[in-house]
Symmetry: C2
Subunit: 257 residues, 2 copies
């Protein structure tokens, strides 16, 4: 399977520290080495770096680790292939446009007997269950809200409904965002931490690296980091409950249910 990393903040923040630890799991401290990817939203703009190489051997991952890109909505993924070959088109995150916004999706899990009809508008380019699930989500959303992006509440209800349906096929942890909304669904394993004042030092699990956030932040900054498993060993991460769909806004989780 795979691992997920997400970030949602109230001010554009770089993800270098978390990505450093996350990357190590792509072949060094863990074996998720069948490709990786990361999407950064900068306002409505979105850039995605993907590579079918392992994240510890990818020059592009090295750039992302060392070059601070400031973003409020980030979704990253390291892959351990269960369905679909190790090719570029099967690397997460996937992206499509809907309602004049880019939507980005990454999945950790494995969906069995999952073959949504190919009648919708969005089609998968690769051959993963994940990209098919993403297309099904967007096709359903577009069907329900053909004209404009709905309110967060209306959106949430539909996303919850589709997610429940897809989850009957297997493990379906995912992150989804358009640079404004940010969804995190836990099917089996996902947790988060909110960093805000008073900031402290954090130490990675996967690399011997400490960052003192009190030296890098302003008083009102708030950053939520979401990951398959905790990235630091001296902070308390909150597990998201199986079946729970969280919305993050300005670095804080919101529960609708």
């Amino acid at each position: 399977m795979c691992q997920l990393l997400g970030m949602n903040c109230n001010v554009p923040t770089d993800i270098c520290f978390s990505f450093e630890g996350f990357c190590a799991r792509g072949g060094k401290t863990d074996d998720h080495k069948d490709g990786w990817g990361i999407a950064f939203f900068e306002s409505k703009g979105c850039r995605i770096f993907i590579d079918a190489k392992s994240s510890i051997n990818s020059p592009i991952a090295e750039l992302v680790r060392n070059y601070p890109i400031h973003s409020t909505h980030v979704i990253a993924h390291i892959r351990k292939a269960t369905q679909g070959e190790i090719t570029l088109e099967n690397c997460h995150p996937f992206r499509r446009e809907l309602w004049e916004r880019y939507w980005v999706f990454a999945h950790n899990g494995d969906l069995k007997d999952f073959h949504p009809k190919k009648t919708g508008f969005y089609q998968a380019v690769g051959n993963t269950d994940s990209e098919q699930a993403f297309c099904l989500i967007l096709n359903t959303l577009r069907e329900r809200f053909p004209e404009n992006k709905p309110s967060l509440k209306d959106f949430y209800l539909v996303i919850q409904e589709i997610t429940d349906k897809i989850s009957t096929h297997g493990i379906f942890n995912y992150l989804l965002s358009d640079g404004e909304y940010f969804f995190a669904h836990c099917s089996t394993k996902l947790c988060y931490i909110v960093r805000q004042a008073p900031f402290a030092a954090a130490h990675l699990i996967d690399e011997d690296l400490t960052v003192d956030f009190s030296e890098l932040t302003k008083e009102n900054d708030r950053v939520a980091v979401i990951a398959t498993t905790p990235l630091t060993d001296n902070e308390v991460w909150t597990p998201i409950q199986p079946g729970e769909l969280l919305v993050f806004q300005d670095g804080l989780p919101i529960k609708f249910a």
Copy 2:
């Protein structure tokens, strides 16, 4: 306005040499410094690097200059903003999915009084004339061929028709590809060169850099490089005629008209 760079080959080839010279025009030898981007197809997979910084100051452009990514279909762009702010969402190339393939588009020109109806499926995320033109092309193609990607010939006829219509609004040089088809339209300025055996040394115009392709190639390799203006000063580039729409396949231009 902007500048375009494209590459189409019969075997995956890196574009480092051409991109080096092209990049220099993004703030060093020319003033196209309002962002840049490059798309690489690797089979059906596609990755795009974009940055709103000038290509000579972008760490991501530096990576692309130095890290050889091998691809058969490449589209690159350096921007000098005429319409739309200098933001990430306005950087070319743009990408959408159609018929289970990614389509990539970059434009050099300026379209006046161009406001296609927003009734189609594909909508622009940014506010450039270019992205709107791309969406209009895809919306028309989807309308004409709702189910499957047509043959190259049928595709060509429709693309020619849309291109002629859009061209009535102004300058419309563009490159379009899905990793299989590769189109280059010249409205005012676009040229190309085909490199094949016997290979020779090439020297950039914008940087004092020479590469001897005979040392780097195999006998059957063939590479077409398409650019707004020639990138080398010791080779003969062929101007594409205004109004001409060329298809490149395996490193060779094909004329349908």
